[in-house]
Amino acid sequence: MSPRRIAIAVGMFLLFVGSFAWADESALERARIPFREGAKLVEAAEWDSALAAFERSRAISEHSLTVYNIGVCQRFIGRQTLARETLRLALARAKEHPDEMPALYVEQAETYIREIEGRLARLQITLTPPDAKIAIEGRPLVAVSGVTGQFVAGIAPAGEARSLGLAKLEVLVDPRPGTVVTFSLDGYDTIEVKRDLKPGAREDVTVSMSEQPAQMRIAANVKEAIVRVDGVDVGMAPVAITRPPGPRLVTVIREGYVPYEAKLTLKPGQDVPIDARLAVEGVPITKKWWFWAGAAVIVAGVGIGTYFLVRPEPERPDPQRGGLGWLVEAN
């Protein structure tokens, strides 16, 4: 809707309201002043200031068209879920006061609501345990009346997250990148899930508070020591790695040093520092000259032949996957 059309729509309010009896003429007259200011601000596309003007008018005297204008301003400043709620309120009031809102604006409000609902993103949240608290962009959720398990984000004022007691719920959200959903539960670290929500998107969010990953921060006392977790190269120490809870094998290796190994069981949300102390490899007795001198005659014949028959195949060094754990085959 162009600003010009809105201006006309807004101006009509003054005509219509003037035609009908009003319980409190003085309140109406006082409400008209900020309403007119809001109309001028709409023409200058100053949506926020217009919104404040219409809200002031509403505070003096409630009227369906004032609520409608508030919803339109909210739509223009990108508060889609709030605009939807406000326009629904305008329609609800218009049903009770049919003289307040001409059919043109009822139809327009319904069109806006449909447009907004088509644009809203929907998050299908599966939550364990169900009593974890949820907030989106720092605001608790508001239940949609008459629809079990459906909630709206962006309406309630910023505040503490609330527990909804549901394992599965759907949330209508303003589509925008970087939307943050926060899950919190006493005794656990807060989980933040960030999603880039496009208009009309439906996304699944599955969160298990008891399955929070743990972090291992692995350092070594020598440079260029390669760290492996469960046999996979994760980079050179120092390195910080997150893994799901459970048993883990950490190995730190560097040529010329005795490998360091640690077996540990990670708990959810745990932060474990590991300080790998690698010792210089000792000289085995087999490198002593006098050992070979003494064994030379005995080993040289059958022993060597046996060795070549039973020794394992020599291994080709593995290509490195780097800290990202990713190896790309070129061909």
């Binding site: 600003p3 925008r176 980079g235 490198k287 060597i304 060795y307 780097g322 990202l324 061909n331």
Partner: protein
């Protein structure tokens, strides 16, 4: 390890006895690619995108990795080739970008960096007429109108020269005698905000005596644009539009036979090629795995490198995605459904311009990460004082999605986001005050254009009018600590230049308001707490929303106490919104995209709007957000607009008090 050395010793002994030997096979051709960045993480870089192509350009792999902590850099991955007979070349494309710095995948189209030349307005009527272009009927043409009056018409003569702006002109060729309509159909700034035009038709452009007709306002009360309807003989005429308001503007003109005015011109022919998916595509095993989005060039550092995998060699290569390559996206074209044209790729060469794909640099060791070191000139505590605050250099991301649809002119869009790097600078700790302005006048500052200067408010402060709402008074009225309002952009800039600086750029304002070199960008200058009456002087127009004086307050008022930004810069979120140096354009306008990302600002000598930043006593809460942009008429002397200055070094000229 010990057992292996024992066995190796036995093998060596066996070899020494002449027995047959069998060494371990050599490694496969492989390379460890180590990627680092000197941008701050996560503020300007939090994701790494890696695309791998064969030497023939075929797209083979694509992954993106969140790397949101400085200790996750450098990042590394491996390349391997099973071909043991010959070397294998791999093309690697590396891109680092911040959260939100993506767009839908558009395919590779070898986009050339746009050029941007500042508009040059004609200096006089002769130049205006010589540059007038032919305008066919029904075609809309948008022309830039400057600030200086160079022509006039009879309809404008009643307007004093001080109220006039520049002129635009087009040539029209009339084919047959008929009634013709000429109209200014659109302007920027929008006409509702006070732009005014006239329209005049001349037989001879440079001779005002040949004026045939002129027109001023379509509607005296509601539409001050202009429309002419006149009978004309065949011939060539000049259509001029002059300005009845002091701002530069974009004026859109159209003409046709009066009877054909409402005939809608046919739409342009649709392109011959049918709509198709963007290419190339990532096709793996018959499946299309092409990512749906890609890093946005305006917020990405990108480099291509070639990695040669030699049989038997495990190499290490290092690539730096450095801030020097900000604003220098690669030029890449598609060479088919599944590949790029490798030979034609032009990529950033670590800040030395662009060139063909270079070989990746070998690395014998992996040095520590250089994250956060780009342009990171620090400030010492003694570099700041009560007048000015030192702001350390660094990179960050301008814009964001949450404020994008606020402004219908389209000039204040906050998307796409744009990465910018700033050298160290100094900024006023507070908005420029009445007291400081008075000290400037006492020290010799003179206003060049009285229409642009604050008026003298010799009475109490009452924001119901321009004069009574001005904080300045020629004789002190105990308002020295109030921010200086009701000043035009040009005079504000001249005040800053008098002090050895300039108006802050948009990037400088947003960088400081967003927390400067802090790891994450703030939502509001004071942090993440919602913008409310308790934090700053904002939204005072509609009580009972916010109680208090309906206007600005002293810069050190109690109501401003919580409006403290990072580094101790005060009043960014409220009181007065602040002029910046920049012309108002979206971040993908050539004035942004054609320049380097370092110390970038949108430089236009006479735009329709300038950008003001920050909240004000009049505006709604949301405009205290760091990303919010207000297109503002440069000539506006508004009681809710002020300014502050920035400097490349500590200013020598100082002032006392706030």
């Amino acid at each position: 390890m010990a057992r292996r050395s024992e066995l190796a010793a036995l093998v060596a002994f066996g070899c020494a006895l002449g027995a047959a030997c069998n060494d371990a096979p050599p490694p496969l051709a492989s390379a460890l690619v180590v990627v680092d960045t000197d941008l701050p993480v996560p503020k300007a870089a939090s994701h790494l995108r890696v695309d791998v192509y064969g030497a023939d350009g075929r797209w083979r792999e694509s992954r993106q990795f969140p790397r949101v902590r400085p200790d996750e850099w450098p990042a590394s991955f491996g390349l391997v080739s099973p071909d043991e007979s010959k070397p294998t070349d791999v093309i690697v494309r590396l891109r680092v970008y911040p959260e939100g710095g993506t767009r839908d995948y558009r395919g590779e189209r070898a986009e050339v960096r746009p050029t941007y030349a500042q508009v040059r307005f004609p200096a006089n009527e002769a130049e205006l007429c010589a540059a007038a272009e032919d305008l066919p009927p029904q075609e809309e043409r948008t022309l830039r109108r400057g600030l200086v009056p160079i022509s006039t018409d009879r309809c404008q003569l009643s307007i004093p020269v001080s109220g006039r702006a520049g002129s635009v002109a087009v040539r029209v060729t009339i084919p047959t005698r008929d009634k013709y309509r000429f109209e200014v159909v659109r302007t920027m700034p929008l006409f509702e905000i006070g732009i005014d035009t006239t329209l005049a038709l001349r037989r001879n452009c440079t001779d005002s005596a040949t004026e045939i007709a002129c027109h001023d306002n379509i509607n005296e009360e509601s539409n001050w644009l202009s429309s002419l309807v006149v009978d004309l003989d065949p011939g060539t005429y000049t259509l001029l539009s002059n300005g009845n308001s002091r701002d530069a503007a974009e004026v859109t003109i159209r003409w046709s036979k009066a009877s054909e005015w409402d005939a809608v011109p046919p739409p342009p022919a649709p392109p011959v090629t049918a709509a198709r998916e963007p290419t190339p595509r990532l096709l793996v095993g018959g499946a299309d795995l092409t990512p749906v989005d890609e890093p946005s060039p305006s917020a990405t550092v990108e480099r291509f490198v070639r990695v040669r995998l030699e049989p038997g060699v495990q190499a290490t290569k290092r690539v730096l995605l450095g801030g020097k390559c900000l604003g220098t996206p690669a030029r890449v074209s598609s060479a088919g459904t599944d590949r790029i044209d490798v030979a034609s790729v032009q990529t950033c060469i670590d800040g030395d311009g662009t060139g063909p794909i270079p070989d990746a640099e070998p690395a014998s060791t992996i040095p520590p990460s250089v994250v956060g070191t780009y342009l990171a000139d620090a400030c010492a505590e003694e570099d700041s004082d009560d007048n000015v605050v030192c702001v350390p250099g660094g990179a960050f991301v301008m814009g964001g999605p949450e404020m994008d649809n606020l402004d219908l002119s389209g000039r204040g869009k906050t998307l796409p986001v744009r990465s910018v790097a700033l050298s160290r600078f100094w900024i006023d700790r507070r908005e420029v005050t009445v007291g400081r302005y008075r000290q400037a006048i006492a020290a010799g500052f003179r206003v060049k254009n009285a229409a642009d200067a604050p008026v003298d408010n010799a009475g109490p402060l009452d924001t119901n009018g321009l004069r009574t709402g001005t904080t300045y008074s020629a004789k002190p009225m105990n308002r020295e600590r109030y921010p200086l309002n009701s000043i035009g952009w040009q005079t504000a800039r001249e005040v800053c230049m008098f002090f050895g600086g300039d108006l802050q750029t948009e990037a400088q304002w947003e960088y400081v308001a967003g927390g400067a070199d802090a790891p994450n960008k703030r939502t509001y200058p004071w942090g993440e707490a919602e913008s409310t009456c308790e934090v700053t002087v904002i939204d005072r127009v509609f009580a009972p929303v916010c109680k208090g004086f309906r206007g600005p307050e002293p810069v050190d008022a109690a109501a401003m106490a919580a409006d403290v930004g990072a580094l101790g810069v005060l009043g960014l979120g409220g009181n007065l919104r602040e002029f910046t140096r920049d012309a108002a354009n979206a971040f993908d306008h050539p004035c942004w995209t054609a320049q380097s990302a370092v110390d970038a600002w949108c430089d236009d000598p006479a735009p329709a709007y300038r950008i003001a930043r920050g909240g004000s006593w009049k505006g709604a809460f949301v405009f205290a957000r760091v990303s919010a942009r207000w297109p503002t008429l440069p000539s506006t002397r508004s009681t809710d607009v002020g300014f502050r200055c920035t400097y490349p070094r500590p200013p020598e000229r100082r002032w006392t008090g706030p």
